[in-house]
Each structure stands twice: as C-alpha cells, then as structure tokens.
Amino acid sequence: MEPLETMQTYYKRRDLAARKWKAKGGKVVGYVSDDVPEEMIRAAGFFPFRISGDPWGGTEEADRYTEPFYDPSVRSILNMLLTGQYDFLDFIVISHSSDAILKLYYHLRDIQQIDSTLKLPDLHLFDILHTRFWMTGLYIRDRVRELKKKLEAWSGKEMSNEALSQAIAVGNENKNLLKKVSSLRAAEPSLLSGVESLQIIGSSMVMLKEEHNKLLRQFLIEDKRPARDGLRLFVEGSAIDNLQFYELVESCRATIVAEDHDWGNRYFDDPVDPALDPLEAIAERYHLKSPSPRMHSIGRRVAYCVERAMGAKSQGVIFFFLEWDSAPAWDYPDQKKGLEEKGIPTLCFDMQKYLLSDPEKTRIKTRVEQWLESIRRPSRK
C-alpha cells in the first residue's frame, strides 16, 4: 500500500492502530483536543489516541443527558463513549479547551454517578487556561506536573526525562515532516488537496508517531504529485474532524491550501523546544502554541488568520462554523475585515450541522460555486 493510501486508511478507521496496539497488550490513553500533551502520554508508555466524533454516528444516547445546543462534535464524542465505540481506551484525558469539552468531562463524571452500570475509563481533567500571562503559565506548569503524576499512577512507573525527551523528539520530527508536506500543498501550483492534507494530518493523531513519521518520509520521497488547478482557498473557523466540507469545496474546482484549525495546519505549527527541560518545555509549548480561538484575543486571531491566508497565497477565505461553537465565531467580523483590507474575499457558513444533509450540501456547493465565479470573473476582464 502506498504511504498516502495507508494514512488515508488510518484516518478513515481511526481506531485501527490503537486496537492493534491493544491486541498486543499495550494500553491506550484517549485524549480530547490538541491541548493535551500527547508526548507525555507516549513517554509514559501508552498509545496516545486523539478522540474524535463521528458525524454519521448520531447522538441518541448523549441526548438523554445533554441539551442539543453545544458543539455537536463533542456531543458525538459523548455518544460514542456512552455506546462503547471507544471500548479500547484504558484512560481518558480531557482538556479545558472549550466550554463544550469541559462539559464533556463533567457529563462523563456525573453520568457515571447516576448510572453505576456504565463503565468508562478513568478520567483526568487537564485544566489549561485562557490567557498567555506568565501566571497562567505557572498554573499550566503545575497542571503538567499533575498530569505526569496521573500518567505515572496509571502506568505504575516513573516517567523519565529521557523518555519524555525521546517522545518530544519524535513528535517534533512529526511536526517538521508535516510542515514539509504542507509546503507541497502551499506550492504554486498546489500539489496536494485539502482533503488529502486532512487525512495525512489527522492520521498522525491516531497512529504512533514513529510509524507515522516513516510513512511521511516515504511519502515525501516517493510521491510525485500532479499539479492541481482551481482557486486557492483558506479555511477558517471551527475545527473540522471529517472530510465532508473539504470534499464539497474541492469538488468546485478549488484547492484548500491551508487552514486555521487543530485538525489541520495548526496542529503542527509549534514544536516543543528541545533545548529546555522537557517538562518545562511541554508546559510552555501547550501554553503558548498557535492561537486557538478560545485562548487568544481577537487581535491575535485576526493577525494569525491574515498572515496564514496570505502566506499560502490564498485567493479567498471560507469561514465554516459548527453550530454552537461560539469561540471562533466571535472572531469572524474582525477576521473578515482584516482579510478584506488585504483584498482577500470571504464567504461564511455559520451554524452548520456536524452531519451535512444532502440539501445543505447542495446549498453549500451552489454558494461556493457562485462565490468562486465572482472571484474568477475580474481576472477574465
């Protein structure tokens, strides 16, 4: 199997690698959001597995306990956990990345109190805060130490600095290789689609990094890609953990050359500084990494969006907001203004369902095609 095909398989069947690891006697730690230091999980001897939702999986069981108006991808995760679809997880780490994700932690904790027959993995809350202030950094440093103790308790052994440094090195290599892959996508003309990029990046979060790095190296050496045509687009807004929207947009003769969300390019923006004490470096990286909507000011979010969209030579920016995902939506008016001041046209889809219905897909496709045409038209004059 070609490396891209392999990564696409793991992206599609996200539990595949973790289940194989489990079958060999290993233990798996699931984590929610890219704010959880996966390097620490690996250094503790576990398989780090990023938990995601499933747009096609429904939320019937979760709906017994939750109202329908919070981030649908998180409600989907709750549903999958309650229905045993993540039965291979031994432990779960949930970060304070957003209101919805924090609420997931409380729901899991409290539902177990109500329903004693429900067996869920042991939970840990990683309380990452909002601001970039030094005092917040100190708090996060303490939470990193707390996580270390928890992982050591789960594994029954001490986490050595050497193991953590090794996990950091492997993780940094992964980020570096993903950056090289992203340069294919950002090339003119682009040599990689947005859909393929999401598959490559996403598969990194559900495989061991050592294995993923091998695939990336092979891919970079072997793969000769045809040039893509169509307009170059940037995607801003909610984290997108599936392919529906990208497939729709790219079916309109366009290429998504970069994005600003943590299932895409933002995942590999910042390496962990190998020159620092490893635990300090982890704390600093997860405190100060690229600006997620919740942790950063509108000003920083605007600057990041404009810089990344321009850096990828985007000809337009599409905003995609999942319903009830409010943090990125607050940034939208200023980001739109900032982009348009640079001459970059924008299109916005707000309050979007996690699972796009056929009529909604048709509506999105029509609007994207009309918008792309409006961008192309001036260049024909």
Partner: protein, 448 residues
C-alpha cells in the same frame, strides 16, 4: 398595592424596574424595601455619574467578580449583567442585537453578557437608557466561558478602557453538599490550587488598581467589608428560611429578586446591611400579619435560571390564574447559602473562595433540589438559553438537573428562550406551556 417610586427608572441590581411585556400593571412591587432600593439606586447612579465627571475611576465588571475589592478602595463599580437587564427591560435588546447581527456577529452567540457590548457598539447615547453608561476606565471579567475574553476585548475597544481578565480554573470536585460546609470550611470545600490561583489573580488586580488609581488598598478595611457582608448575608438566610417555611408565600418572586439583588450589589456597605435587615423585617411583618404574594396560593413553583429581564411580570400571571406561586429562585437562595465566609485571618483567600466556584454552586443540582424541598415546591421551571451553555443547569446542563428533580418527585418544565433577548420570546406559547405544566403536572400533586 404599593407602586414603585421609580416606574421607568433605574435600579442597580437584579431587578430592573420596567417590565418587558404588556404586563406593566402587574409588576408593581409589594415591599417598601423594594421601593427604597429603587430610590437608593437612582441616587447612587446620579452620585456616581457626578463622581466620574470629577475624573474618578469607574469599573464595569461581571457579576461573579469580587466587587469587594472596589468597595474597599472606594471605586464605583456596576455589573454588566445589571446593565444587560436594564437594557432588556427597556425593550432595547431586539434593536441592539439586530445591530450586532448586522455587523457580522452571529445570532447564536451569547446574549446575556454581550448586550452591554451591543449597546456600546451603537454609540448612540440618545437611544441608551440615561444616556448610556459612563465610560468605564476598567473592565473586569472572570474567564468562565469561551465568550468572556471576546466580549470584553471588544468592550475595551468601544470604551477605550483596560480589560483585566481573571483566570478561571476548572473545578475538579463536584462539591457534594457544599452548602453545609462552605461558610466555615471553604478552604476544604474548594480545591487549594484553584484558591491559590484566584488569590494570586486578586493580588495582581489590587496592585494594578493601586498603580493606576493612586489609591491604597487596606487589608483592615477588607476585613471590615467581609464581616459586614457576613452580617448582611445572615439576614438573607433568615429571610429565605422565613419565606420557605411560610404558606402562603409572603413575598412575590419579583420582590424577592429586586430586594435581594439591589442590596447584594452593595454588599459590604452600611446601606447593604440596612437594606437586608429592612427586607427581613418587612417579610417577617408580612408573615405575622398573614399577608401573601397570592392569597389564593394553591401550588408552589421554583424558577431556575437568571431572571426573565425582558418580562419581569411573567410570574404573576400564574398566581392570578392558578394560584401557582413562584416562591424561590437562585438569587435569594444563593445569598442565603453561598456568600458568607468565616474570614479567619485571611480575608483575601476567603473572598477568593466566594467567587471561584460561584457558578458551580449556583446551578449545583443537589443544592437546587435541596432548595426546592425546603420551599415545598411542587414544580420547577428552568429557563434554558441556547446561547449560554455554562450557567443553565450548571456544568452538566439542565437534563441531569431535571433527572435529580424528578428523582425527588418534582416535575420540571424547560423553557427554551433567552433572559434578555426578547426576539426569542413568544409570550403566548410560553404561557401556554407553563399553564399546561401547572394543570397537568403541578396542581395534581399540590394537594388541597
């Protein structure tokens, strides 16, 4: 029935005076303490505006922030939620939210905390009540949800003011039966790392205030403020207990909220203590005279969630039609159980403990059930705002709260609407829902 002294005027706290629907005639307050509070608020606002014109600092802060620090330093402060309630009661929320939506802010975003921002973005003092808020010099919010940073950053831009964010560490405990131990054992109830963080945040804020205002913070003065608050909150506890134990209910929910919150915003002042005592004595007098919010009380209800600011007359309709009386809400109950602290020698840490878990305590489902039982309610109505997932039903949402109530034999009705955005309110539909709930679920279990 006593008419409020300030129909159409201002209050500073939880109860704006104007109603939000066509039920003005039923919003008149029954208590002298409510009337006095309204007059006090009016004077306070007028005096504050005068002070600000002399160049004094002024703070706009969220309701769950430690106002006690500002009181200690004699810096005037108003609450964003109070201002939001006023704007809503003045029926301005549709205009302001439409304006925000036109400027690209989606309709699904937070409403309760963002209405003051919408007003500020309008830059139209002629439209805003009383010419709008004076320009704050400092904005303060705890970052308890995803929206706070964004709202206050934008507010800071509109007012050209400094935004001071206070971090919010997430609770890891579920605080079982917190109300039994919080006053004297708050340092055991709340996780020490969360208290440590809050104390450090408060110290930083104090230094910031000292540097930027030239005023000096007094530890002894804070001790005084904290002790005064304990005395004030004790009156709320006695008032709550009296109301809970008395059938028929001596005070309407509208009066309870107005009298509680108007003085809560001034907690720690001599007037706050005076007013809490006055409120208690007036309720006691009404109990002794057998006066009731509704003489024909047949069923007791609980209101869960923030006050319905755009329609403060809402509750009264059900008293008149069914004898179904809303006898309790989070406002007086939290004042009774959640604010007092045995300060010992560390008032700042005690103060941190008051605010660090306020949201968690406020919508703690076991506490809500405890309050429901204490008041003998036979049904609860929860207002569920789609735009604010944190507070409603606490950290886990209203469905688990409903389960807890139903396990205690108390039916629950969720109302999907918004407490400040009148665009989401369908009076006929909600009235019909509550009527049906009372007829089918509440009256049958309420007894003769």
């Amino acid at each position: 029935m006593t008419k409020t002294a300030e129909q159409g005027g201002a209050t500073r706290g939880g109860g704006p005076t104007d109603p939000g629907s066509g039920r003005e005639e039923r919003t008149a307050k029954q208590l002298r303490s409510s009337v006095e509070a309204a007059a006090f608020q009016k004077d306070w606002f007028k005096n504050t505006r005068q002070r600000l014109s002399d160049g004094e600092p002024f703070v706009l802060a969220n309701a769950d922030t430690p106002h006690e620090l500002f009181l200690t330093m004699d810096i005037p402060v108003v609450m964003t939620q109070w201002w939001s309630a006023i704007l809503s009661a003045k029926r301005l929320s549709p205009t302001y939210f439409d304006l925000m939506n036109e400027r690209g802010y989606q309709r699904g975003l937070c409403r309760y905390c963002s209405l003051p921002l919408a007003c500020a973005m309008d830059h139209n003092p002629e439209r805003a009540p009383w010419g709008g808020l004076p320009r704050p010099t400092l904005l303060l919010a705890r970052l308890t949800c995803d929206a706070q940073t964004k709202i206050f950053e934008r507010l800071a831009r509109e007012y050209n003011a400094t935004f001071f964010p206070l971090e919010h560490g997430a609770p890891t405990s579920s605080y079982p039966r917190w109300w039994e131990r919080i006053k004297d054992h708050w340092d055991e109830v709340i996780e020490s790392h969360r208290l440590d963080l809050m104390v450090e945040e408060l110290k930083t804020l104090i230094r910031f205030l000292e540097v930027t205002t030239g005023k000096t913070f007094s530890h002894a003065r804070l001790m005084d403020v904290m002790e005064l608050i304990n005395r004030q909150e004790e009156y709320y506890k006695k008032t709550r207990d009296l109301i809970a134990a008395t059938v028929p209910c001596p005070v309407s929910l509208t009066d309870q909220i107005a009298s509680t919150m108007n003085s809560q915003w001034h907690r720690g002042t001599p007037w706050g203590l005076h007013h809490a005592r006055m409120f208690y004595e007036e309720v006691k007098e009404r109990v002794e005279k057998g006066e009731a919010a509704c003489r024909n009380e047949k069923a007791r209800l609980m209101w869960i969630g923030p006050g319905l600011w755009h329609n403060t007359a809402f509750y009264r309709y059900f008293e008149e039609k069914y004898g179904a009386v809303f006898v309790c809400s989070i406002y007086l109950s939290l004042a009774a159980d959640g604010y007092a602290r045995n300060v010992a020698n560390d008032p700042l840490r005690a103060l941190a403990s008051r605010h660090v878990s306020m949201t968690e305590f406020l919508y703690h489902r076991d506490w809500l059930v405890k309050e429901a039982k204490l008041h003998g309610v036979r049904g609860a109505v929860i207002i569920v705002s789609r735009s604010c997932i944190r507070p409603v039903g606490g950290s886990v949402g209203w469905k688990l709260t409903r389960m807890a109530f139903e396990a205690a034999g108390i039916p629950v009705l969720p109302i999907y609407s918004d407490v400040v955005d009148a665009r989401e309110w369908n009076d006929a539909e909600v009235t019909s829902q509550v009527s049906k709930f009372i007829e089918e679920k509440v009256l049958p279990i309420s007894g003769p």
